[in-house]
């Protein structure tokens, strides 16, 4: 499979503190990459570099073979743990924002036919993430899980090449979290997404990801712990999309006594 995103010899340094050293990665289109690692191992720094929020100290990042500018753009969507949605806009207006920005550079608002089309598209996207009944609520009126659903819908409406998730489910309680896992897996498959997710939760990393990267320091100097940075120490390729889909198909065919009928309905 061809690499959608390539990181070549990426170093991130803050002053004399080295956070990431010599990170070389190729991420294939359609993969779901989980990034795990201890606190301070540079998981979020790596995500920020890919997102374009920070420029790496050294190295290049290629998206489809072209170098990325160190600035965020609509080709990479993001969902943060918090503050990803705009508190002053309703769920629908939050989602339509991305379309308005692209189509109306000066007013950033749409009118008439274009507005109706954008609103319909946004409503459909919100329905896809399970917020079909909450179009006109403000984020403060939504629960934590619903806010994350909204943040995902907001990002997906731009059809990003890569979706970056920075501990997106870290602040949710376990029940909601498993709902969100089901949702993100389904969206990943339905929209053929490429996802990079940073998480603290090893189980989450393995259940969702087709590939798990563990970041840590290869070397450790006890007298100057900040002088060695982290890199990908483990790179595990798990099942890819097709394998996983096949697995699930099988489990459905085995179900001869009809336990899944409720789900199907």
């Amino acid at each position: 499979m061809s690499a959608l995103l390539s990181l070549r010899d990426i170093w991130v340094e803050y002053g004399d503190k080295i956070v990431l050293e010599k990170v070389d990665l190729d991420i294939a289109a359609g993969s779901f990459v989980s990034i795990v690692g201890p606190s301070g191992a540079g998981k979020s720094s790596l995500l920020r570099v890919i997102l374009g929020q920070e420029a790496p100290t050294r190295g290049t990042i290629l998206l489809d073979g072209t170098p990325l500018a160190p600035e965020c753009g609509p080709d990479r969507g993001v969902v943060f743990q918090r503050y990803s949605v705009f508190p002053h806009l309703s769920a629908l207006r939050n989602t339509v924002f991305g379309l308005e920005c692209a189509q109306a550079p000066f007013s950033a608002r749409l009118f008439g036919k274009a507005r109706r089309a954008a609103l319909d598209e946004s409503a459909a996207m919100l329905a896809a993430v399970g917020l079909g009944d909450s179009l006109h609520l403000y984020p403060a009126q939504l629960s934590g899980g619903m806010q994350q659903r909204l943040a995902i819908a907001q990002a997906l409406i731009k059809r990003p090449r890569i979706l970056l998730l920075d501990e997106p489910f870290g602040a949710l309680d376990p029940g909601i979290r498993s709902d969100m896992h089901a949702l993100i897996t389904q969206l990943w498959r339905d929209y053929s997404l490429t996802i990079i997710m940073v998480t603290h939760d090893i189980r989450e990393a393995f259940t969702l990801g087709t590939r798990v990267l563990a970041l840590d320091k290869r070397r450790h100097d006890p007298h100057a712990p900040h002088r060695f940075g982290a890199t990908a120490v483990y790179d595990l390729h798990l099942k890819d999309r097709n394998d996983r889909a096949a697995d699930e198909d099988k489990s459905i065919t085995i179900d001869s006594i009809g336990n899944n009928e409720e789900d199907a309905a």
Binding site: L51, R82, Y83, P87, C101, Q141
Partner: protein, 271 residues
């Protein structure tokens, strides 16, 4: 029950809030009555009847020189100056605060200047304003603007700059540029804070208005108070102060109401 846990019902709160105000009024009337018992011509603590008498001339009789009803002319002149001053300051705050808050290069360039202007005591600028702009309306409005705008600008700029970084990043991943972030992300979130800043600026704005009117004017609430001070006319001064208080409270309530109506998301309503 501990006092920190005693929540008051709305009706109780209103009643309790009235008690100290009524007690204070009662105390004043008793003191005034005592002084009038000793000296019926006392001017220092006029009785309510005295105030009504003193005010009626200003309220209902046209001034023989100017042909105006002085109380209403004063009110109109003062409110006009205050309104124009507050309006200009608010508009200035919105534009400058938004630009300073969202664009780091602009903040680096003009931030120190705004901070510098904000620490100048505005009253110290009054002579300069009178010399430069004359004794007319312009200088008075300019004093109000100069007095309140820098503080408001700093407040709004700091509020906008403190918006979560995640929101600004998210907006960019949704395709927004600097201008779109300014008008669609920063501006709407600055609006409730702007109303708040206006409420807080009302107090200083009145101070600068009264000061400017006291020094050079021929009409206005502040001018009248300082004019009749020469005749110890407490029967005019006290009703005027009460009227200013009432106007200030009404403006504050109106601003709160408008903010709640326009930005329900910022006031945690229906949550």
């Amino acid at each position: 029950m501990r006092w920190v846990n005693r929540q008051m019902r709305r009706s109780d709160r209103l009643l309790l809030g009235l008690v100290p105000i009524l007690l204070l009024l009662l105390f004043y009337v008793v003191m005034a009555a005592q002084r009038h018992a000793a000296n019926p011509a006392d001017k220092i603590l006029p009785l309510p009847s005295g105030m009504a008498e003193g005010m009626s001339a200003l309220l209902f009789e046209a001034d023989p020189l100017s042909g105006q009803f002085l109380f209403w002319a004063d009110t109109l002149a003062s409110l006009q100056r205050l309104g124009i001053g507050l309006g200009i300051a608010t508009l200035l705050t919105l534009i400058v605060g938004l630009v300073l808050g969202t664009l780091p290069p602009v903040r680096a360039t003009f931030g120190p200047l705004v901070t510098g202007i904000a620490v100048i005591p505005p009253i110290a600028l009054l002579p300069i304003l009178f010399i430069a702009l004359g004794l007319g309306e312009t200088a008075k409005v300019a004093l109000i603007v100069l007095g309140i705008a820098p503080v408001m600008v700093r407040d709004i700029a700091a509020h906008v700059a403190a918006l979560p970084r995640e929101q600004i990043i998210k907006a960019q991943t949704l395709g927004a540029g600097s201008w779109q972030i300014m008008i669609r992300v920063a501006l709407p979130q600055a609006m409730p804070r702007l109303f708040h800043a206006m409420r807080l600026a009302l107090g200083p704005a009145w101070v600068f208005l009264i000061s400017a009117e006291a020094i050079a004017s021929d009409v206005g609430l502040g001018y009248r108070i300082f004019l009749v001070r020469r005749y110890l006319s407490m029967d005019i001064i006290i009703p005027y102060v009460a009227w200013i208080t009432l106007l200030a409270i009404l403006m504050d309530v109106a601003l709160t109401f408008m903010s709640r109506r326009s930005f329900p998301w910022a006031h945690g309503e229906s949550h």
